[in-house]
Symmetry: C2
Subunit: 253 residues, 2 copies
């Protein structure tokens, strides 16, 4: 039983007019990789935002009083803090050098997911406006261009409580269920499983992150081939939003 | 740039006298897989505990007053709660159906990592006593049997705050650094990276979990082949303990 992770090394720097689906297929072709049924494409969120022309011009941000206060508390740039506030619906934790907030989509992460890497000086990329919708559009486009049934996962690299280091997580998905509910299944001894929900889309993102890295390798797209549960988890309706734990069920908010 | 995940399907049910390193090599051979330099073996913690004869006999547990109280609060079995208390140095959060604690090793997770799956009725497996040491022993044994340089990651499946579903995480490691510090490296535009620490061992565990599943597939070991940073991250000293964020730096404790 095998899975292959194939990093696409030939994706150019993305800008607004680019057709990301075509660039992905072109890059695959340059590596002589033909998409197959069941392929899962994990795409770094930055290239999604860039291809959607979704930039923040930090220099043009007018820091509100709230932003100025938070900037002082955290030592962060006031214009960046203003951008974080605009991308957030709630501030979850603040410390000497961090702001963890609930983004407008409901994800809880540092800096509202705003990324200052891999863009021109003075610019930043926010999270895609609606990552599940972006994933769905790309899936439909790639499926119609190739005739293959694929899934798209949009990934981000995020820190988390309790553990050092960041890991790849999913913020958008289409074509595969993000959360695998295994209630009722049995273990090797015929007992009901204890861990009944697996965050498959997060595990796919973490796996892809092994190739994407975070620096100048330039591998924003990874194909995951051979995932055994692809067919069982086929789902074009439920996105990665299902990974968000509702506040009232979260013991750590 | 490619990575292969190879699930070992021929590992038998493990018990105390078993030599896990040999069973892994035998299973690989049955699948005609020969270990190579740079292979990373991710092993499910349950088989480590079993091979070390490390079981909890829940029926023999004497529930203390603290355990009885916590059992009432959480609706959990008092003997299981007693076992959780014995495996923990601190209780972090308690709710109607969960206990999140800091294990004696320092990991923060539900039920102190005690697993009631895939063992005989009435028994449970705790986390390995010293997962980094276990990983180190297995690495040395496999390296001496094969003459190849490999790494071992011991994985668990854990829930986390803010996000639904569990994911594979690392609780032990040897032969590869768990945390990749990328401070000073630059992005595509020559700017310093924002995310400077990547929890590589957690990403390896999450990737392996895609094949391990949680149920009766019986894939407790996954070989990860072709990880590009293996040589850069070679390290036989620092284990997965480095993934534990010290309490004083954790905003969510």
């Amino acid at each position: 039983m095998q899975i292959q992770l194939i990093g696409l090394t030939e994706i150019p720097l993305i800008s607004k007019e680019d057709d990301l689906s075509r660039l992905i297929l072109d890059a695959a072709q340059l590596q002589e990789v033909e998409l197959e049924n069941g392929d899962i494409l994990v795409i770094a969120e930055t290239v999604i935002s860039k291809s959607e022309g979704n930039y923040i011009d930090l220099g043009s941000m007018q820091a509100s009083n709230e932003a100025l206060e938070l900037a002082q508390k955290t030592g962060k740039d006031p214009q960046l803090v203003e951008a974080i506030l605009q991308e957030s619906q709630d501030i979850v934790r603040v410390g000497p050098d961090f702001i963890v907030s609930e983004t407008n989509h409901g994800f809880i992460c540092a800096n509202a997911g705003i990324d200052e890497s891999n863009v021109d000086e003075g610019l930043a990329t926010p999270m895609p406006r609606d990552p599940d919708a972006s994933a769905n559009l790309i899936r439909e486009k790639i499926e119609s261009l190739t005739g293959k049934q694929v899934a798209i996962v949009i990934s981000d690299t995020q820190g988390r409580p309790f553990r050092e280091g960041a890991v790849g997580v999913a913020i958008g998905a289409s074509g595969i269920r993000s959360l695998w509910n295994r209630q009722g299944e049995e273990d090797l001894y015929g007992r009901e499983l204890q861990t009944t929900q697996i965050a498959v889309a997060d595990e796919l993102s973490a796996a892809a992150s092994l190739l994407m890295g975070q620096a100048n390798e330039g591998i924003p797209v990874v194909i995951i081939r051979g995932y055994p549960s692809f067919a069982d988890l086929r789902d074009t309706e439920t996105g990665a939003k299902s990974l968000i734990r509702p506040k009232k069920f979260d013991a750590f908010r």
